[in-house]
């Protein structure tokens, strides 16, 4: 029958007269991370002016370090938010992962590597549980992970108390495996006058990897789809549950990674740590252009968001501003970053065609 048809009754019409091909600058402006980048540059220049102490390489690297401790988990949280879910347990999971390793190995006298790997399994299990419960019950992830947040927070304290009799883990820096783990998770490269923490490298590596996954792989496509419209994604055959559970586990993995950094950098961990950081991750993601409602965002943006947060929080100190107002400055900076971001996004769409 295909022969019976006239060649192209409905075939390719000529190029539509109002078909638009966007210029490079417009394409650039439309990328989710550009707004965050511009905001970062603006804030960076602002602080270069008002905070003389910031104008040195070591200061910049301190900011990078600070950003990386937020940024690593934020990469995962950003992906999760693109996938349409939240994780409020990420902050305390960091501490739980570190504590697990420290308490387990110290009190049984086992090589730290064993504990680190078991701790990874534990964290992934928590991530899996979060994801499984969210998908199975249909309860919003905000609530489920708030539950795990509370449970982990309590367990961190309760278990540590039972095991050590105090509220912090014991110092592990004399134990087997410490040196290698310390190198992986907390090494500091001395480059001339500046100190580059290995976490900065990890942070950028994770951000780039995640950007690649999101933009260039099938899994990335699925992540955008489940966040943008889970029922539609399911209808065209995307395995929604597996993708979302995988995202929760990714966050858990990065949480574990950061937990390892804290443990091997400070050698002890206080059981109460990490509370409140879950919001810093979300802030980094959102300042970086991730949509709260899912389906839109980008890992490089999230990395920039973490950088904006790290820079702002430290540069307030560099600028020597009154610490009582610290939070107020932070709030204003946050709003500014978001507004710049928004303005840039608007710019990218208002250019007219002839």
């Amino acid at each position: 029958m295909s022969q019976a048809l006239k060649p192209a009754p409905a075939g390719a019409p000529a190029e539509a007269s109002n078909r638009v091909s966007l210029g490079l600058s417009n394409r650039l402006l439309a990328r989710p991370e550009i707004g965050a980048l511009v905001a970062a540059v603006v804030i960076f220049i602002f602080f270069l002016i008002v905070a003389p102490a910031f104008r040195s390489a070591p200061s910049f690297f301190t900011v990078l370090y600070q950003s990386s401790t937020i940024g690593i988990v934020a990469v995962g949280v950003g992906m999760l938010m693109i996938g349409g879910e939240f994780d409020l347990s990420a902050g305390v999971l960091v501490t739980a992962g570190g504590l697990f390793n420290a308490l387990f190995c110290y009190n049984l006298g086992i090589n730290l590597w064993v504990g680190a790997i078991l701790s990874l399994v534990f964290c992934l299990a928590v991530g899996f549980l979060n994801g499984y419960l969210v998908m199975r019950t249909g309860i919003p992830s905000f609530l489920i992970t708030l539950g795990t947040f509370f449970v982990l927070q309590g367990a961190n304290l309760g278990v540590t108390k039972i095991v050590t009799g105090s509220v912090s883990s014991q110092n592990i820096n004399q134990m087997d495996g410490y040196a290698s783990l310390n190198w992986i998770f907390a090494h500091v490269f001395q480059i001339g006058p500046v100190q580059l923490s290995i976490t900065v490298i990890w942070w950028l590596a994770f951000a780039v990897l995640s950007a690649y996954v999101l933009q260039r792989t099938r899994i990335g496509n699925w992540i955008y789809a489940v966040g943008g419209s889970a029922p539609s994604a399911r209808a065209v055959g995307v395995p929604v549950k597996r993708v979302k559970i995988g995202l929760f586990m990714t966050v858990a993995f990065l949480g574990w990674f950061t937990g390892m950094h804290y443990l091997y950098n400070f050698n002890v961990l206080q059981a109460g740590n990490g509370v409140g950081n879950e919001f810093l991750y979300i802030i980094a993601a959102v300042v970086g252009g991730t949509l709260m409602t899912g389906g839109y965002g980008n890992s490089l943006g999230v990395a920039i968001g973490a950088f904006i947060f790290g820079m702002t929080s430290l540069c307030i100190v560099y600028a020597g501003w009154d610490p009582n107002w610290f939070r107020a400055f932070l709030g204003v900076m946050l709003l500014l970053a978001v507004l710049v971001n928004l303005y840039i996004k608007k710019l990218s769409t208002i250019r007219k065609v002839g």
Binding site: S2, N221, V236, G237, P239
Partner: protein, 271 residues
């Protein structure tokens, strides 16, 4: 377009073999009964038209075949085996592609990503292997042009397209990926005359390529142009189930309209 269909059609299809069969299928949504005692067969190389009033249960029927909702009464046989799809993924894996009435697109995603969503082209089987972005864009653009749709920018979020353009994307996608069975839920509803024509030709081409087609429409003319078999649903039950040879366009129209006819209406409205 027809080459697309021929290319992607499952070569093992034998005309007339039964691809999907429903035996006494029923479905309730909580306290609401949507379907009851439905018997239907989709044969290779045939178009089965499902017709009926609004709310009659047509979409529910095809959602069962598509794996979106499981049925809760009766049996669904796919390629002769009883199945109850837990998700559309399973149904797709069985070669069944669907155009949903609400289209199932992700508004924020680019047109080409939507086109390939769930069936992306990658370099290798490795989960992190790169997408063949260029190929995918080219194919999506080509397939849309074949339907007479030129989107202004294949990188545009699909949410910015007009209703009919979105519908065309969904149809082009299903046609491209449908290997054994093609399900179309009111595909021409939002389409212009030209596009409707294209969709009807696609339907015919799919039939001729040996696929089983389920075609839902409110337009008896459209139905009669391509259908081999007609089922009219009313309040969740089949009230007519006839082969093309047993029913004329007039009777079909009368049955669908419940006695009224457009001609009669036109008479009434005459000025």
């Amino acid at each position: 377009m027809t080459d697309t269909l021929q290319e992607h059609a499952d070569p093992t299809l034998a005309k007339g073999e039964s691809l999907v069969q429903m035996i006494d299928v029923g479905k309730t949504y909580g306290a609401i009964r949507a379907l009851k005692g439905i018997n239907l067969t989709v044969n290779a190389g045939e178009v089965t038209c499902v017709l009926g009033d609004n709310g009659a249960g047509k979409s529910t029927l095809i959602k069962i075949i598509a794996g979106l909702h499981p049925h809760n009464e009766g049996q669904l046989l796919v390629d002769g085996e009883p199945r109850s799809f837990a998700s559309p993924r399973e149904s797709l894996a069985a070669g069944i592609a669907t155009v949903y009435q609400d289209l199932a697109v992700v508004p924020l995603m680019e047109v080409w990503r939507n086109f390939f969503l769930g069936s992306e082209m990658t370099g290798s089987k490795f989960p992190l292997s790169g997408l063949k972005t260029k190929d995918m864009k080219r194919i999506a653009d080509e397939e849309l042009r074949k339907m007479g749709i030129v989107v202004k920018d294949i990188d545009q979020p699909i949410g910015e397209l007009s209703g009919g353009q979105r519908q065309c994307v969904a149809i082009a996608r299903a046609v491209y990926f449908g290997a054994r069975v093609l399900i179309l839920d009111e595909p021409t509803a939002a389409l212009g005359v030209k596009q409707s024509g294209v969709v009807l030709k696609y339907t015919a081409a799919a039939r001729d390529a040996g696929l089983g087609v389920v075609f839902i429409t409110h337009n008896p003319h459209h139905a009669y142009l391509v259908g081999n078999h007609f089922i009219i649903l009313k309040l969740g039950q089949a009230v007519l189930d006839k082969h093309r040879s047993d029913v004329g366009l007039d009777e079909l129209t009368r049955q669908m309209a419940g006695g009224d006819e457009l001609a009669e209406l036109s008479h009434e409205l005459q000025r």
